[in-house]
Every structure is written in structure tokens, then in C-alpha cells.
């Protein structure tokens, strides 16, 4: 689904709903801007005044710790006022619809909504509904997309491994239920990855996934050969309806990333995981805490990347050529 909701007439990002259809340059602009925000997080006063006076509402209809917290920190470091709303404490439990919730919050002059919802397409629905001065960032919708996670993954890869064109990627685990995997695939193919493999049991690989430009594989050891970057996924037991894996022990034996399986990849391969991790299920603790793991740097970079996305989305819409006298 090509989404023109996201870009305005001048190609500027207005909402971030999905990676699909975004130009390569837009992705690079986000990664480059994030580099500058890294240094803001390393200094004494970790705050810049860009979003002073703006209101950001984190609207989470589904639970989250990492994503919500990093969005909150990102907004605060940009000097915005950040309000967190978790659905369990809000009026939707009293029967209010999503769009009514949005209307009410918008009446309080909210400038940016960061939305997570269990339904695929929820962020799109809201983006179509709000007036032009209100912006939406998708923080995960159903199985569909999690664009900010994919962008922080791309940032991590670029920092640790360099250019995408020279790298081979393996996305491993529960591809079927994973919005992270879909966003990662679109980001990697847009940025020109040499090869993207998706590895998991047949029951957790979506049919016709090849159409996204990736190579499916059901054997982890064989699939890891020549791989530079291993992107593990969480086994989403809460979304599973039916017997998709024989048993957790067997899943770990076949698809759990252990040190000896990791040795099938290139010796300098990095291991990523979007969190939360199921240790001893999709990843062994020795690997998660080992020297090739970049799982904690991912979290740190997530703040800078989300700051960059917020800053680019909320920036003015005047032509970039407008002259700025010194």
C-alpha cells in the first residue's frame, strides 16, 4: 500500500505510518538527523528547545515499556510536553471509540500523537481523520508496521556495520506475527541491502513473503551462512491462535540463537533484538549478553532516532529554500 498520507506536496514527512513507499532519501534524512541527536544525549543538559510549547500524546492501546519510554524521553529532550495515556485507564474501556478519543485529545490542542494499537491500520485511520496541523507517528499497529523500530534498527546497523549495499541480513523467528519484520524488510530493501533472508518454521513464515524481495529459509544454520546482521524476533505467543510450534523446547532447539548456531554466520556478525526478549526461547542468554550483541545500543539509539523523526515531522512546512540570514 503506497501511502501518500505520509508526505506533503514538497515531499516532507508529515506522518510516519509505515516504511513502505517512503523514498530512500527520507530514510537517510532521518538516520542523518539522528546522528546529531546522539550528541545531545551525551552532554550535561540533554535537552534542545525545538518542540518547546508543543504537546505530544503517547496513546498506547497496547502495552509497551521500551517504545513508550523512549518516545517519552525523546519528546522531553526536544522540550515538548509529553502526556502518556494507557488505554486500560482511559475512556475507551467505557465504550468511547478511537476517533472520539482522538477528537477529545485534539480539542486539548495536541500537536503529535504517538499511537500503538492492536489493529492493523489504526494509525492510518487516525491520520486520515485529524486536521493537517496534527501529526501521527505509528508506534506499532497489529501485524502491520512498526516503522520507528525498523529505523532505529537501520541506525544501529549503519553505526556498527556501515553501508547496507555490502551486507547480508537474516530476520529470524516469528515472521508471521511480526510488524517489526515487515518494517525491517521494507527499510532494508529501500536502503539497498545485498540480501535479506527470513528464517523460521514454515508455520511462522507468511505465504508469498518472497514478493517483498526476501529469501525464505526454514533451516537456521544453513540460513545464517555469510550473514553480517542477525535480527532476532520475539515469539509472539499472545498473538498465536493454534498450534504453530510443536513445543517451546523444540523451537529453541531448532530456532533459538545459541553460540554454536551463531558461529554459522560471519565471525563479525552482530545480533539484534527489538525486545522484550524471551531468553531461552528465541535467544540464549550467552548470545544476548555476548560480545556480538548490540541489543542495548539499539535502545539507546532509539531515543535519538525518535527525536529525529519527531523533529522532522513537526518542523515547519515553508519551502526549505527560504533564506536564513545570519
Amino acid at each position: 500500500m503506497r501511502d501518500d498520507l505520509q508526505l506533503d506536496g514538497q515531499g516532507r514527512l508529515r506522518h510516519l505510518l509505515t516504511i513502505e513507499g517512503l523514498p530512500r532519501q527520507t530514510l537517510l534524512d532521518i538516520l542523518n538527523t539522528a546522528e546529531s541527536f546522539i550528541s545531545v544525549g551525551e552532554r550535561e543538559i540533554k535537552k534542545v528547545p525545538l518542540l518547546r510549547g508543543k504537546t505530544v500524546v503517547n496513546l498506547f492501546f497496547e502495552s509497551s515499556t521500551r517504545t513508550r519510554t523512549t518516545f517519552e524521553i525523546a519528546g522531553k529532550r526536544l522540550s515538548a510536553d509529553v502526556i502518556n495515556l494507557a488505554v486500560a485507564q482511559s475512556s475507551t474501556t467505557k465504550g468511547e471509540t478511537v476517533l472520539d478519543t482522538i477528537d477529545n485529545l485534539e480539542a486539548m490542542h495536541t500537536d503529535l500523537f504517538v499511537v500503538r494499537h492492536a489493529q492493523s491500520g489504526a494509525a492510518h485511520l487516525i491520520a486520515r481523520h485529524v486536521p493537517p496541523h496534527v501529526h501521527i507517528i505509528n508506534a506499532g499497529d497489529g501485524r502491520h508496521a512498526h516503522p520507528t523500530q525498523a529505523l532505529l534498527d537501520m541506525f544501529t546497523i549503519r553505526r556498527h556495520k556501515g553501508a547496507f549495499e555490502n551486507l547480508r541480513f537474516a530476520i529470524v523467528g516469528d515472521i508471521l506475527h511480526s510488524r517489526v519484520a515487515r518494517s525491517q524488510i521494507h527499510a532494508l530493501t529501500t536502503l539497498g541491502a545485498a540480501e535479506v533472508r527470513v528464517i523460521g518454521p514454515q508455520t511462522l513464515l507468511p505465504t508469498a513473503i518472497e514478493r517483498l524481495g526476501v529469501h525464505p529459509c526454514t533451516d537456521l544454520r544453513a540460513g545464517l551462512e555469510d550473514i553480517d546482521v542477525i535480527m532476532m524476533l520475539r515469539l509472539q505467543r499472545e498473538r498465536m491462535t493454534g498450534a504453530l510450534i510443536p513445543s517451546e523446547q523444540e523451537y529453541f532447539n531448532l530456532y533459538g540463537l545459541t553460540q554454536d548456531k551463531l558461529e554459522c554466520a560471519k565471525p563479525d556478525a552482530i545480533v539484534m533484538h527489538p525486545g522484550p526478549m524471551n531468553r531461552g526461547l528465541e535467544i540464549d542468554s550467552a548470545v544476548a549478553d555476548g560480545p556480538q550483541s548490540v541489543i542495548l545500543p539499539q535502545v539507546t539509539y532509539g531515543i535519538a532516532v525518535r527525536m529525529a523523526i519527531m523533529a522532522l515531522i513537526m518542523g515547519g512546512a515553508e519551502t526549505a529554500t527560504a533564506r536564513r540570514p545570519a
Partner: protein, 168 residues
Amino acid sequence: MPQTTDVVDIDATIAYMADELRPFLPKNPLMIGIHTGGVWVAERLHKLLELTEPLGTLDISFYRDDFTRVGVNPTVKTSQLPVNIEDRHVILVDDVLQTGRTIRAGLNEIFDYGRPASVVLAVLLNRDGRELPIEAAIVGHHLRLKKNQHIKLFGPDPLKLEIQEAHT
């Protein structure tokens, strides 16, 4: 049409600025250039004055007051203040002083790193068009330009000034 101007001898002007800055040397000042043109000028001053501590650089993109109108420039550079500026005497260097808004933003950013003992401003060119009460202590060259004229420093090597006229 942009035109290169030779009204200003850049090398001689920077040498003059260095001489004007010498009286500050006993205070062991810390030099900071503002991206991008200010860094080029500061690099030359830093060398002429034989300062031993590394040059600091500022990109004030995150502190601009026109963000809500024009947004963030994705080519924003990283600010680097390699030395702690707490209680230090700072020489802030920029290429052109016009409205004063860049310097206002630069001062705000500096104070987010710490509290300097003092800040003096040194600019290659001082032109008309001030919108804030900010003046430079060291001015390489004063220039009067028409309202629709814009002057820009190109570099880093060689440094070259270009005057552009906006057609309104």
C-alpha cells in the same frame, strides 16, 4: 546571478582578526566556531593564534527560532565541545553577523553545556540588518549591502565570498 566579491581580502582580514584577539590570550581562551562558515574562519584563527586546546564547533540547528516555519535541516552537523567550558573564557567565531539570531541560538546552546566565564564574539563580516541587541567585539570587515543582497562564505579551501541578489 551570484557574484564573487573581492572587496574583502579574506586572508588579510583573518590575520587582522587574529591580531585583535591576541590581547585575550592571557585568559587562555577556548575557541568555538559556528557551522559551517564560522568553523572555517575559526580553524584559521585557531592556527594563527597557536591555541593548544582543540577547536569547539557548534551546529545551532536545534536552537533556531524559525523551526516552526522551516523545520530541521537534515544536513545538520554535530556540535562538538571537546573541552569543558565551565568557567572558561570563550571566543565565539562566525562568518557573517546580520540579524544576530544565529548568535542568540549559539549562546543558548553554549549554556546548555555549562557556564562560561565570558564570551566574546568575533566575526569575519559585520553587515546591516540587526534584529537583536548583539554586537561583535572583533569585526574583520564592515559591509553595507542592499536589503535583497545576501552574502555567503564558501570554503573551506580557498575561502571565497559570494554576493547573491534575491529577486522579489
